[in-house]
């Protein structure tokens, strides 16, 4: 399915759906009451209370004033309804604010000022610096002569860094005045919620350019709710509007999570209801029998001889009403109130405020606090969760020489500094790759310093380290990079960027050296993504050893590589690359394939080692929580060695001989199967011993294990208290949570980055660390905390308190109601059913 958007053509775009009115509202003024009541009455408890209240209206059977049930019932409904109404009203207000925001658009060649809600698909929208983007746009022009602009996408994906957006190649060089009169067609997919993909094509109509199809990617778009930064103006054509934008489509109310306690209360209510029916039947039958045998003899009661048809029902229904208090009407309201208070206690807690940033903890989901006290498994991310995610360049190995091994800091290693001043080729190339093989944007601050805006912390660390080693990345002007090395300026022109994806595990840039016109491929990536592509003659043994050595120290490693390209090799390849980039289907996969064709015969320059420090109090927190009987799994995208190293340093696993690590690896089905079998056997044997046994599995083996040996893996999951899963993808993280949940364990997932969101949403309790990788995880989570060590207090203090209090409250509610009811039942027996 495709959508055709005609630029600047009202007639053609008219039938293309809605205007740009955003609506997040659940209700309207008219359907609020019926819809809300319908929702509330879909709960069994509420239906039950309504039935009782209706029965009480029949004065023949009611023993009490109907107000005694109607009052609380109406109160409960009013409270829930007004909470809903309040939330919805706020949604309405924020919608209204967004809808009535004034924007500039172009209509029939004239600039007009209209409200955001009146934007039609195909309109050209103008934005100025720091404006919010009102709908999904395809960029047509910017103030920058190269057609670049910067956006902040924090509201969309939580990443706070600036992202570059460029105009499509077809629009380059179009005059400002002509932009108003632009005509063309954009062929784009029907609205979806993938904020990382936009596979479309654009064709401009004459007189602009001949009928050349130009491919569009997410790089050519401005998505709704982003902000335009560092760019004077930008304009674009709207392709998705209103609730059909990427943001609008990805909105949605998450399924409410139910706690174990809620499920228990529901079950209990059902059981009590059945018991109540039994009591009512027994008493009702006995009452009818008594009435017919005894009560007719009581002359002073004057029982009528004739009885209406419903006579037999009267006594059972009266008993039903008398027993109706068995199910306490107050429990829902009381629980909601106290749960709200638990959440507040978490937010108020001064000991859970991150002193560094001043962020307090936040409970987004107020309903599940007591599950915190029931956690059996904690699945934790590594980077940014256990560690600080403050990357610092520590060591490197260039051409087989280790730098920074003596004092632990390569930046102060005299040997390296000497090598730089003496101008060793390898070292300079190495530094060049560090400085420019990235997507970092240098921003000149007012004081004259250069601040780097990077998407990944590793790139940030590398660029900063390069700058300290006299290779300063000074400026980026469209495709032109400027580097200052030892006082001289070196310019490079970026030809292509072969982006990083989690599958490729490497990224490369193709640059042209402006001094001598050579075209160079610069690559950096994980060892296993780079080393296999080394050029034939090179010995990768030392590099492999260096990687091994560094990961044992708990450092993150990246391999840097370099290759000079022949002019025609590049040109040939670039055609294919362009072709792949303009595909509508399977673009990502095709691009990866094409990239592969260029990234071979690499000359490996060396290895960088970056330190990622442990957060404060992580080992203590893990140890305390383990003493409380909670099991830990570490799920990380990082390398196996690094993961194990971090695990050792934070008490996650114990070193030999107290602990034992069992590896599950293998590349083929048979290997994995054998390995899994062996580990399972060891686990079963050592299950009774007081020994810390943990298994380690990587993403590849995990994939196979889950696919072919699901049952064995589940057994392994039950047996092992600790596990390290490295190299896992976001969806595998979610799968692991799902496995533990299917074994009836209460799981808590904690993470900080976008790759943890799925696991956080999947787990019974999701905890986000409002850290450096943006707020995405914190936003999706039920609780967000500033530091990992607050988890101890969250679980052991707040979780325990909440669980105990809710348990007491609900037990007491039921106890009280049953007690009152039993007094009545006993009296019926004692009085031989006089309620005739």
């Amino acid at each position: 399915m495709k959508r055709f958007v005609y630029i600047n053509d009202d007639e053609a775009s008219k039938e293309l759906c809605c205007d740009n009115r955003i609506s997040n509202r659940k209700y309207t003024l008219w359907n609020f009451l019926p819809k809300n009541l319908w929702e509330q009455f879909s709960r069994f408890m509420n239906q039950y209370f309504l039935l009782i209240a209706c029965l009480q209206l029949w004065s023949l059977i009611t023993p009490v004033n109907p107000a005694s049930t109607w009052g609380p019932l109406i109160f409960i409904f009013a409270v829930s309804a007004s909470k809903e109404a309040w939330d919805d009203y706020h949604r309405y207000l924020s919608d209204k604010k967004a809808n009535e925001k004034e924007v500039w658009i172009v209509k029939q060649g004239i600039k007009k000022h209209i409200q955001a809600q009146d934007i039609q698909v195909g309109n050209i929208v103008w934005l100025r610096e720091n404006d919010e983007v009102p709908c999904d746009l395809v960029l047509l022009g910017t103030s920058d002569p190269q057609g670049v602009c910067y956006v902040e996408t924090a509201a969309l994906d939580g990443e706070t860094d600036l992202k570059t957006r460029v105009i499509p190649s077809a629009c380059v060089g179009i005059d400002l005045e002509l932009l108003h009169k632009m005509k063309g067609v954009i062929e784009c997919p029907i609205p979806d919620k993938d904020i990382r993909r936009f596979d479309a094509n654009m064709r401009l109509f004459p007189p602009f350019i001949d009928n050349d199809v130009c491919s569009l990617t997410i790089k050519n778009t401005l998505l709704q709710s982003c902000y335009l930064r560092n760019t004077e103006w930008a304009c674009g054509v709207s392709v998705y509007t209103g609730n059909q934008t990427k943001l609008g489509m990805s909105r949605g109310i998450a399924e409410p999570k139910l706690t174990a306690m809620d499920a228990m209360i529901d079950k209990l209510t059902g059981a009590i209801f059945v018991f109540q029916i039994v009591v009512v039947m027994v008493l009702g039958v006995a009452g009818n029998v008594w009435k017919d045998t005894e009560a007719r003899k009581q002359w002073y009661v004057q029982y009528p001889e004739e009885a209406p048809w419903y006579e037999l029902l009267v006594i059972p229904l009266r008993f039903e009403l008398l027993c109706s208090i068995m199910i306490p009407i107050s429990i829902k309201v009381s629980l909601d109130l106290v749960k709200g208070l638990y959440a507040k206690f978490i937010e108020w807690d001064v000991e859970m405020i991150d002193q560094e940033t001043g962020t307090a903890s936040y409970a987004a989901n107020t309903a599940i606090s007591e599950d915190l006290g029931q956690v059996e498994y904690i699945l934790t991310d590594k980077t940014g969760t256990l560690t600080d995610n403050k990357m610092i360049f520590r060591r490197c190995c260039i051409g087989g020489i280790f730098y920074g091994n003596e004092n632990g800091d390569a930046l102060k290693d005299a040997q390296l500094l000497n090598a730089i001043t003496s101008g060793s080729t390898d070292v300079i190339r190495f530094l060049t790759v560090m400085a420019i093989c990235n997507t970092v944007i240098p921003v000149q601050s007012k004081a004259g310093d250069i601040v780097y805006k990077a998407q990944s912390q590793d790139e940030d660390a590398l660029v900063i380290a390069a700058a300290k080693l006299h290779m300063v990345f000074v400026g980026k002007n469209a495709n032109l990079l400027e580097i200052r090395f030892n006082g001289s300026i070196i310019r490079y022109e970026v030809l292509e960027i072969l982006e990083f994806t989690s599958d490729r595990k490497r990224m490369s840039v193709v640059v042209k050296d402006c001094q001598n016109g050579k075209i160079i491929l610069l690559s950096k990536g994980a060892d296993e993504a780079i080393l296999p592509y080394a050029c034939a003659g090179q010995q990768t043994r030392t590099i492999g050893d260096a990687v091994e050595h560094y990961s044992q120290l708990g450092l993150r490693t990246l391999c840097l590589a370099w290759r000079e390209l022949e002019e025609n090799e590049y040109l040939e390849w670039s055609v294919k690359f362009k072709e792949a980039s303009s595909l509508l289907v399977d673009r990502e996969w095709r691009i990866a394939e094409v990239c592969q064709r260029l990234e071979h015969d690499l000359y490996i320059l060396g290895v960088t080692a970056i330190e990622d420090r442990l957060q404060d109090g992580v080992p203590e927190t893990i140890e305390t929580l383990r003493k409380a009987g909670i099991n830990f799994w570490m799920l990380t995208g990082d390398k196996q060695n690094t993961a194990i190293q971090i695990a050792l340093s934070c008490n996650f696993i114990s070193p030999e001989p107290k602990g034992q690590l069992l590896m599950i690896d293998g590349k083929t089905k048979e290997d994995v199967s054998r390995s899994l079998e062996r580990v399972l056997l060891t686990m079963r044997i050592t299950a009774s011993e007081p020994k810390d046994v943990a298994f380690v599995i990587d993403g590849w083996a995990l994939e196979i294990a889950l696919k072919h040996h699901h049952k064995d893996f589940v057994e392994l999951a039950i047996l092992s208290r600790t596990a390290i899963c490295c190299r896992v993808t976001p969806s595998q993280k979610a799968q692991l949570v799902e496995i533990l949940k299917s074994c009836d364990y209460r799981t808590l997932a904690i993470g900080d980055g976008g790759n943890d969101v799925r696991m956080i949403q999947q787990a019974d309790i999701g905890v986000g660390i409002s850290g450096r990788e943006g707020l995405q995880a914190a936003r999706a989570a039920d609780y967000s905390i500033g530091r990992f060590r607050f988890l101890k207090r969250l679980i052991l203090v707040h979780g325990r308190y909440s669980y105990n209090r809710t348990a007491f409250l609900s037990q007491y509610s039921f106890y009280k109601s049953l007690l009152i009811c039993f007094i009545q039942i006993l009296r019926f027996w004692n009085q031989s059913f006089q309620f005739g």
Binding site: A295, Y300, V301, Q302, Q834
Partner: protein, 343 residues
């Protein structure tokens, strides 16, 4: 728990919180550090509490039981004895036939000295004055305002007869107890007071001074007693006593007071009219003479309850003590818990 207390001084901007008492209390609430105490149920304290309960409750029980035993009661069931031999097989025909004289004489022997005032009660057993149909069948407004008040639908099925409203209406009034008793000793009449037997509040607040019985017991079905249409309801104390419906199916109602002391060995002769029909539902009628003391009439229940609770407390405390001596556990020892956790 330790952590909760230990961290007070680490709070960063604590000083700003502690400006006044009130904000300090708020701070303590928010940090869940409000002072609180919770009794710790150690074996020693539990044993002591049970022991103390026993020592307090047993004397109270003995005193109460003694007081209850001091009150003297004479109970006489007369519903069977007062039916002549020839009607014993068909009691219903005797009681419903108004041509047969219903008078009957009973002799009550006084065993112990009874001091005036001696309360006279009649007791009905297996009588459902708490039946739903019965309890609801009255109109309090009509009892207070008489004919002026006409919304008497609650009085069904005794709301009106022959097309005219009944005052007082309803089943309770209609079924009023109508046995009468006179008391004499050695041929001389005993001084019996029949006043002041209803609650003062009932007489003054709930029954009208200007409300006279109208059209009462005039229907085809005659229930119980008739009322003198010349006396206002507020003065008809037997009626007021009856209108206070009993909660249980066996109840006593006050009939009057004997204002003389009775010597041991003396015999009280009771002349009674056995009018009221309890035979159709096998109810029982009893006449009771009772003295009272500071605890009220004779009732052993409270005393026995105190004794049972007190003695079981002592038994429990002794059992606990033996258990504690056999398996002592130091305070704070949770080794038993660890064992269960490990398994």
């Amino acid at each position: 728990m330790m952590e909760v207390e230990g961290s007070m001084n680490r709070a960063p901007d604590q000083s700003s919180f502690l400006r006044s008492r009130r904000s300090k209390a708020l701070y303590q609430f928010k940090q869940q550090k409000l002072p609180a105490c919770k009794p710790v149920l150690t074996p020693i304290s539990v044993i002591t509490v049970f022991m103390l309960m026993g020592f307090v409750f047993i004397p109270i029980g003995l005193i109460t039981l003694r007081a209850s035993r001091d009150a003297i009661e004479i109970i006489d069931r007369y519903d069977v004895e007062c039916i002549p031999e020839e009607y014993r097989t068909n009691k219903l025909s005797y009681i419903t036939d108004s041509s047969i004289p219903k008078n009957c004489t009973r002799y009550l022997k006084v065993q112990k000295y009874m001091k005036a005032p001696i309360f006279i009660y009649y007791q009905l057993d297996n009588y459902y004055q708490n039946h739903r149909r019965y309890v609801k069948s009255r109109s309090d407004q009509q009892l207070l305002h008489g004919l002026e008040y006409s919304h008497t639908s609650s009085c069904e099925p005794e709301e009106s007869s022959n097309g005219l409203p009944i005052v007082p209406c309803g089943l309770i009034a209609w079924s009023m107890f109508n046995d009468t008793f006179t008391f004499s000793r050695e041929r001389t009449k005993l001084k019996v007071s029949r006043n002041n037997i209803a609650w003062k509040s009932d007489r003054e607040q709930k029954f009208g001074k200007n409300v006279y019985p109208v059209n009462f017991q005039n229907g085809t079905l005659i229930g119980g007693a008739k009322l003198d249409p010349k006396i206002p309801l507020s003065d008809q104390e037997d009626f007021i006593v009856w209108m206070r419906a009993a909660a249980l199916l066996s109840f006593r109602k006050l009939y009057g007071r004997i204002e003389e002391d009775l010597e041991p060995g003396s015999v009280v002769e009771v002349n009674l009219m056995n009018n009221y029909n309890t035979y159709s539902f096998s109810g029982q009628k009893k006449l009771i003479l009772s003295t009272s003391n500071w605890l009220g009439g004779r009732n052993d229940f409270l005393g026995i309850t105190y004794l049972v609770v007190g003695s079981s407390s002592i038994v429990i405390s002794i059992i606990f003590m033996l258990l504690h001596l056999k398996n002592p556990r130091p305070y704070g020892d949770n080794s038993w818990n660890k064992k269960s956790l490990a398994s």
